[in-house]
């Protein structure tokens, strides 16, 4: 996959990271710095090669690069012309704590990865040119059973309505269809992640890290929630 497409896809997490790490920047300044970062750093030959496994995860490398780029850019700007002083930004950085910015970036990243995975799964399953029996129903089942209850607060469609809707003849057939949907989802998830990790074992590791991160954040959200 081309790096520019990758950057476009993950533009939102980068913007979120910039906003939370440097809260003094206006939206316009942040957008300008991001444009410069993409053109001056990411799209320059050799940058991606440095984001190799020795330097840690691609996500971490991206965050570190962006943070350093912004600090460097601001330090080279004439103080009188600077959008905001470096001293002020440094103070804000410490105050805000880079961990919060990093978490917001990772959460946004996970959203993009999963949304892209679902988009591809739907396109794959609903593709009329690649006819496979029941493929479109497999997506429908996954959507009704998992995706809409999770993200649209929809009630989970009961088993009996599912088998009637899809004409499923036995629990084995129903379970196999749901298993098949989960396998298709996993296949696309690995593919989406592999586009930035580039290797299968690194993709598996990235999935594990995202799972750990989201589980930790979810647990903390439940703990922080006021008793209901």
């Amino acid at each position: 996959m081309h790096l520019d497409s990758l950057i476009r896809r993950y533009w939102r997490p980068l913007r979120v990271f910039l906003a939370s790490t440097f809260p003094g920047l206006t939206e316009e300044q942040a957008e300008g710095l991001l444009q410069d970062f993409a053109e001056d750093k990411l799209l320059k030959a050799g940058w991606l090669q440095r984001a190799d496994r020795e330097r840690g995860l691609f996500r971490q490398f991206l965050k570190r690069s962006l943070r350093n780029f912004v600090l460097d850019r601001l330090s080279r700007v004439e103080v009188k012309n600077a959008p905001v002083s470096l001293e002020e930004l440094d103070g804000e950085l410490v105050e805000a704590g880079s961990e919060a910015g990093s978490e917001e970036f990772d959460l946004e990243w996970a959203r993009v990865v999963l949304a892209e995975t679902l988009r591809r799964m739907e396109a794959d399953c609903m593709d009329p040119a690649a006819y496979q029996p029941r493929r479109s129903q497999t997506w429908e089942l996954f959507r009704l059973r998992l995706v809409e209850p999770l993200f649209q607060n929809a009630a989970q469609t009961p088993y009996e309505r599912l088998i009637a809707r899809f004409g499923l003849k036995s629990p084995l057939e129903a379970s196999n269809m749901l298993l098949s949907a989960k396998r298709i989802f996993k296949g696309h998830l690995v593919q989406v992640i592999r586009e930035y990790t580039e290797q299968d074992d690194a993709a598996a590791e990235e999935i594990r890290r995202l799972e750990e991160f989201l589980a930790r954040l979810a647990k903390r959200s439940r703990t922080d929630a006021p008793p209901g």
């Binding site: 959460l107 009996e160 996993k186």
Partner: protein, 183 residues
């Protein structure tokens, strides 16, 4: 409901639902909810026996579709319920269904919920014991009692199957008491 858009739906989601979706690609911890077991078991009992037997349990060299066909046709056993409620079920067909259920209980990734497969497995053994006075399992009396006892207690099992399982359990417990084994 409005058309689903993954980017919009996920853009405001908290970490909990995202974590659950990410875990969807992992091996199934349970495809269906526990409260759906009754519906799944009803569906299983109404399903065509020969539909499932045409699957992965056929031995090498034997066309899957031919397994159990003559027995099922002769006894007019179309569904699992027909088989387990038959006054004189074909022993061979009970054995084939028991093998199918065992294969699924041992390998939940095959698809059938393992609890459903387990009740089906003990149901076949019970039908052979109660209707045919035959034993189609090599399990010990103690293991059979444990298995039948577990199956009887599942709240989602229908009344007729529960009675069959219960009668087999009583029978095997009495037989054990008579010859002093396992008690």
């Amino acid at each position: 409901m409005a058309e689903f858009n993954s980017a919009t739906a996920l853009s405001v989601s908290g970490p909990g639902p995202l974590a659950e979706l990410l875990a969807a690609g992992e091996p199934p911890a349970g495809l269906w909810r526990p409260e759906e077991m009754a519906a799944i078991f009803r569906h299983q009992m109404a399903a065509a026996v020969l539909g499932d037997l045409g699957g992965a349990t056929a031995p090498a060299g034997q066309p899957p579709a031919e397994r159990g066909v003559p027995e099922a046709q002769a006894a007019r056993c179309e569904s699992y319920a027909d088989l387990l409620r038959h006054p004189n079920p074909p022993a061979r067909l009970l054995e084939l269904v028991k093998e199918f259920a065992k294969a699924n209980a041992d390998h939940p990734e095959n698809g059938l919920p393992k609890e459903i497969a387990a009740v089906l497995y003990y149901g076949c053994i019970a039908a052979a014991l109660v209707r045919l006075k035959a034993r189609i399992s090599k399990l010990s009396d103690a293991d059979l009692r444990r298995g039948l006892g577990w199956a009887v207690e599942q709240p989602w099992v229908d009344e007729e199957t529960r009675q069959l399982l219960g009668r087999a359990l009583v029978g095997i417990t009495r037989a054990g008491a008579r010859d002093g084994s396992g008690l």
